[in-house]
């Protein structure tokens, strides 16, 4: 740093990042302890009025007005450690949010629990395939916790957000209409599921016709008006079709700013400082001393803190640990070092389906989906040796917006042109009659995929960018092909037209949107050799540092990560409050 940073008044706990996990941690600590808690958020405070006037496809969905500005900071990507990485000059395959609430403001609201065997995946795979039946490059690990550990925390998160859905497994009893494959829940969802759109209803019917078990997706977009246990009231969703990539105009979508912030703003021990760009976590002799940050004018500050909670998006969590030289960086050649390993994204596929009749696809929301989970997790159909885990299929209606979706789905035997008279006519013909059965697959971690610092490219302060080394392997290609086959069976069962679109076998691309589910890099686990944080999300080397969020996930489950990220945060908060603050030091 250029000049000596200004030293600020110390706080007990500094939380870096004001999204779902950061504000959840702040809520727990300020509610249940007298500690002074400061949240440092580099973006600004969104306003509800801005969302109300933000139903604009161009600014928000096309130009990413709510997303982090890649001019300031981005990542670089290469397919293998032999390649030179290129910067992600503009966002595509994932969309990190900016400002208070982070990506939790623009998320789709799919509020899943993970399957029990997700948390013990290594053990489950070894049991099923034998140690010698697994690829030596497979890097999946157990999490160090179980579904049962997290169940009460899932329930807390579901109540806080007001999740609507239908239980499929209530205390071990399978319930019709829900997901029969889910882990046992102690409670039915706080709210009923969302209404069902026409396309979701069609996919539901098709799946049932071929003997599968479709069920509604759980939604943090309220299915009806709801008041949560903190007394925060929100209205039900109106299905406006401006959902993912947008903040909710009426507050029906659970967002950190409309669930946690109203509680936090009443707490005297809570401070939120926006426009603060944390550049280093500082420590001395094995103890945390605080963080260094720059404000919006570039002035440097040192914020002393006794405990630091790293709660930014996956990318910046891992980058800040690298920049602060905390923990041994992962080396893919020797598989030694834990920081940066087990980078995963999401295996995504889409099978275009075409109908005789219009679908009114402009109606919808981010979570309005029928989901088919029969082949999710380890339930791979027989005859697919070497494919360890698959994923789920869905009929999702988010609300199609025309600048993005016009001409995007035309049967390939009708035209392959992408502009001009013939294309325009085909685009108009199919505009409201084309949809896709989507595949959301588990992305397993592989030894060669990781995050480190780029040797060339830097951010606006001159700090190195985070570098991804990531590509699709044969496993992911086969996941997509198997899923496409099942999707076609569902489509045929409802008389939909199909074309000859094949699942992509192209290398990983940073251009086309997949999901904003980036996991790993600071994973949790059972030992300092195989993980960055312990089962309480406490750093193995620095006991006063906790890392929360999807950066701690050892691999990507098919399900959307938010609910688990929040549940893990209250799980960690319990350990901090019950044990760590009473006797600061290693919890294990």
């Amino acid at each position: 740093m250029a000049s000596e940073p200004t030293r600020l008044k110390p706080v007990d706990v500094a939380i870096v990042g004001g999204g779902w996990t950061g504000l959840t941690m702040a809520r727990e600590l300020t509610t249940r302890t007298p500690l002074s808690v400061l949240v440092l958020e580099r973006g600004s405070m969104p306003t509800a009025t801005k969302y109300a006037y933000g139903m604009d496809e161009i600014d928000y969905s096309v130009r990413f007005r709510m997303m982090q500005n890649t001019a300031d900071e981005t990542i670089t990507h290469r397919h293998s450690s032999r390649d030179v990485a290129q910067p992600v000059r503009q966002y595509g395959s994932f969309l990190p949010g900016t400002g208070v609430g982070g990506a939790g403001e623009h998320w789709a609201g799919l509020a899943w629990r993970f399957y029990p065997d997700v948390f013990t995946m290594r053990s489950a795979l070894v049991e099923k395939h034998g140690r010698n039946g697994l690829s030596p490059d497979l890097a999946v690990q157990d999490w160090g916790i179980t579904y049962d550990d997290l169940e009460p925390h899932y329930w807390r998160a579901e109540q806080m957000m007001g999740v609507g859905g239908k239980a499929g497994n209530l205390r071990g009893t399978i319930v019709a209409g829900g997901n029969p494959f889910e882990g046992p829940r102690q409670h039915e969802y706080p709210l009923p599921p969302l209404k069902k759109s026409q396309f979701a209803a069609l996919v539901h019917e098709g799946a049932e016709n071929i003997g599968l078990h479709p069920h509604p997706s759980p939604s943090a977009l309220l299915s009806e008006a709801y008041k949560n246990p903190d007394g925060v009231a929100r209205p039900g969703c109106m299905y406006c079709g401006f959902c993912e990539r947008f903040g909710c105009m009426i507050g029906a979508k659970a967002q950190p700013t409309n669930t946690l912030l109203p509680v936090l703003q009443r707490r005297r021990s809570f401070q939120l400082r926006t426009g603060t760009w944390v550049r280093r976590i500082t420590h001395k002799d094995g103890r945390i001393t605080g963080v260094e940050y720059a404000d919006e004018r570039g002035r440097a500050f040192f914020q002393p803190a006794t405990t630091v909670v790293l709660a930014t998006f996956t990318l910046n969590n891992v980058r800040l640990l690298h920049l602060s030289k905390i923990g041994a960086a992962y080396d893919p050649a020797s598989a030694k070092g834990a920081l940066g390993k087990n980078l995963t994204h999401q295996v995504h596929g889409r099978t275009p389906v075409f109908f005789d009749k219009p679908l009114n696809l402009f109606i919808g929301n981010g979570a309005l989906a029928t989901r088919v989970s029969d082949y999710d997790g380890g339930r791979v159909p027989p005859g697919n040796d070497g494919v360890y885990r698959l994923g789920a299929l869905a009929g999702l209606t988010r609300g199609d917006r025309p600048a993005t979706y016009f001409g995007a789905s035309i049967p390939r035997d009708e035209t392959t042109s992408t502009w001009g008279t013939e294309w325009k006519a085909a685009g108009l013909k199919w505009y409201d009659r084309a949809a896709a059965i989507t595949f959301t697959g588990e992305h397993l971690s592989w030894r060669q995929h990781y995050m480190d610092l780029d040797p060339t490219y830097t951010d606006k302060f001159g700090d190195p960018l985070l570098r991804f080394t990531l590509d699709w392997t044969e496993h992911e290609h086969r996941q997509r092909e198997i899923a496409d086959g099942i999707a076609r069976q569902i489509a045929r069962a409802i008389g939909a037209r199909l074309d000859d679109t094949k699942p992509s076998r192209a290398p990983y691309s940073v251009v086309n949107y997949l999901s904003t589910h980036i996991q790993g890099g600071a994973i949790m686990g059972s030992s300092p050799e195989n993980s960055v944080v312990n089962r309480y999300l406490q750093h193995w080397e620095l006991p006063d540092l906790f890392v929360v969020g999807a950066s701690t996930f050892p691999q990507n489950p098919s399900h959307n990560p938010t609910l688990t990220a929040v549940a893990l945060t209250t799980w960690a908060a319990d350990a901090m409050i019950d044990r760590y603050f009473k006797a600061p030091g290693h919890l294990l």
Binding site: I58, Q86, Q90, K195, S197, P358, N360, F406, Y431, V510
Partner: protein, 224 residues
């Protein structure tokens, strides 16, 4: 400062919303000519000659035909002109540090040129496109089909046809009417699980019409 340039477009393509969304000092500069049924709209970035080339190119991408209006009818060139004049055109939100590598499907556009420069160079390459017969215009565009310029032109044409009219395109909501998109109407609670098998097509409204509030699109924001 250069001399103010204008694009001449059909009055029908202006619509109430386009007139209203023009910045106040520029309002007075829009000249309606009832005799020729055209209007002069002040340009923020393009020269008049460039605007004519872009208009012709966009019309070939999304042409007027028996199915309905084309890019020229709904004011796409005005949309593109404003995008390029705003923060997007100057790469305010793109990572632009060197070294610049090679563009690819996996890493997207890696060039140093911002959208303004991409357009300036691309337009120069097209020459006086607007003076050519339609089939020659199509051939000229086919020749540049694989360039970053054409990728932008195609994407921006669709954006200009289907944007909220506050951005300068989709005049009279003609783009939305074409596909039956109603705009940000907000409340579909009574409709989400109804109308199965039929085209439910409520009359479209722009965001300003729905909210009764004037808002500044991103391209109009100053000091960003």
């Amino acid at each position: 400062m250069r001399r103010r340039e204008f694009v001449i477009i059909p009055i029908g393509a202006l619509g109430g919303s386009l007139l209203r969304s023009l910045a106040e000092p520029l309002d007075r500069l829009v000249r309606l000519d009832a005799a020729s049924d055209t209007a002069r709209v002040p340009l923020r970035f393009f020269t008049a000659a460039e605007a004519r080339v872009v208009t012709a190119a966009c019309e070939r991408i999304f042409p007027r035909d028996s199915n309905g209006p084309g890019a020229a009818d709904v004011g796409v060139v005005v949309y593109i002109d404003r995008q390029l004049a705003g923060p997007y055109g100057r790469d305010k939100n793109r990572y632009t540090k060197p070294p610049f590598g090679i563009s690819s499907p996996e890493h997207g556009y890696q060039g140093a040129d911002n959208p303004r420069a991409v357009y300036r160079n691309g337009i120069r390459q097209l020459g006086a496109l607007d003076a050519l017969p339609v089939d020659e215009q199509i051939a000229a565009l086919k020749a540049v089909e694989k360039t970053p310029f054409f990728a932008l032109l195609r994407a921006h044409t669709l954006e200009g046809v289907f944007c909220d009219p506050v951005h300068g395109g989709n005049a009279n909501l003609a783009g939305w009417k074409l596909v039956g998109f109603p705009g940000p109407l907000m409340d579909y609670r009574a409709h989400v699980d109804a109308h199965f098998g039929e085209a439910w097509r409520p009359a479209p409204k722009s965001l300003e019409q729905v909210t009764g509030h004037r808002f500044a699109p991103w391209e109009d924001e100053r000091g960003e």
